[in-house]
């Protein structure tokens, strides 16, 4: 346990903040990989269910795998830094609630944008938006909205931790 006055930025963070940073970074990387693979499918003109579900499943697998690795790393770092028994307290819960509120607005914004786009551009619903089928477009638009809200959640948590609520 380092003395109070000699803390570096890493052990100034508690477990939840470290988790937020890792989730934000890995989430951003996975989102980038996902966007690249979807744009690859669009470029190749492959809009079938096998391709779409294949992309979706390996992204989900990647997220679960990274979650497991993150949990192990956090448990190990917690022991090394000797953080004590309390892992989560009232400040963490308040930050969580505020971050949920922000990510809720991200979902609202994304869904409303999709609705507006649908209203403005009829081809979005009839499957004539360029040459991309509507189901493919809708599936990936909603998945992207969920992913962005996930990133917003962890981004908000990081900001709130840095500002300390």
């Amino acid at each position: 346990m380092p003395p109070d006055g000699k803390l570096n930025s890493v052990n100034r963070m508690n477990r939840e903040e470290r988790y937020s940073w890792i989730s934000l970074a890995t989430g951003a990387i996975i989102f980038f990989i996902y966007l690249r693979s979807v744009s690859g499918l669009v470029a190749a003109g492959r809009f079938g269910i096998p391709e779409t579900s294949g992309t979706f499943l390996w992204i989900i697998g990647l997220v679960i795998g990274i979650e497991i690795i993150t949990a192990i790393l956090l448990a190990v770092s917690g022991r090394i830094l000797d953080e004590g028994k309390v892992e989560k307290d009232e400040r963490d819960r308040q930050i969580n609630l505020k971050a949920y509120r922000v990510s809720h607005y991200a979902i609202l914004g994304g869904v409303n944008l999709a609705i507006l786009y649908g209203l403005v551009y009829e081809g979005f619903w009839t499957g004539e938006a360029g040459r991309i089928p509507a189901t493919f477009l809708l599936f990936h638009a909603l998945f992207a909205v969920l992913f962005i809200s996930h990133l917003t959640f962890y981004g908000s948590r990081v900001i709130l931790y840095r500002l300390s609520l």
Binding site: M1, P3, D4, R12, M13, N14, R15, E17, E83, G84, K85, V86, E87, K88, D89, E90, R91, D92, R162, L163, S164, L165
Partner: protein
């Protein structure tokens, strides 16, 4: 950003931190000193929070719940008001209104 530059702070993150003034001050650092240089970790374990929460409260960046404030004061064996102080917001200066002219007053 302009506001930050006016105050001589060029890091927006630092400006956001400084601009967030809480109306509650505390004497936790002094109390820890008089409690035999109790560490933040020891106090955190006593009241059941993380050390980072104690650090944030001590630095005046986080207002604890009433329950946690009582627990911290209890950990030092002091009443709440000796550990936490409320700073009332500055009231705007009152402008004295001129006295109303009554009918009894003589007219010129």
């Amino acid at each position: 950003m302009v506001m930050a530059a006016r105050h001589g702070i060029h890091n927006p993150y630092e400006w956001m931190k400084r601009s967030k003034k809480l109306p509650i001050e505390n004497t936790i650092r002094t109390c820890r000193f008089f409690a035999g240089e109790m560490t933040q970790q020891a106090l955190a374990e006593k009241v059941g929070v993380t050390r980072q929460t104690i650090l944030a409260i001590e630095a005046g960046r986080y207002s604890p719940s009433l329950e946690l404030a009582f627990l911290i004061a209890h950990a030092f064996g002091k009443p709440l008001e000796e550990v936490f102080h409320f700073i009332p917001p500055e009231e705007p200066e009152k402008v004295e209104e001129p006295e109303a002219i009554t009918q009894d007053q003589p007219h010129e």
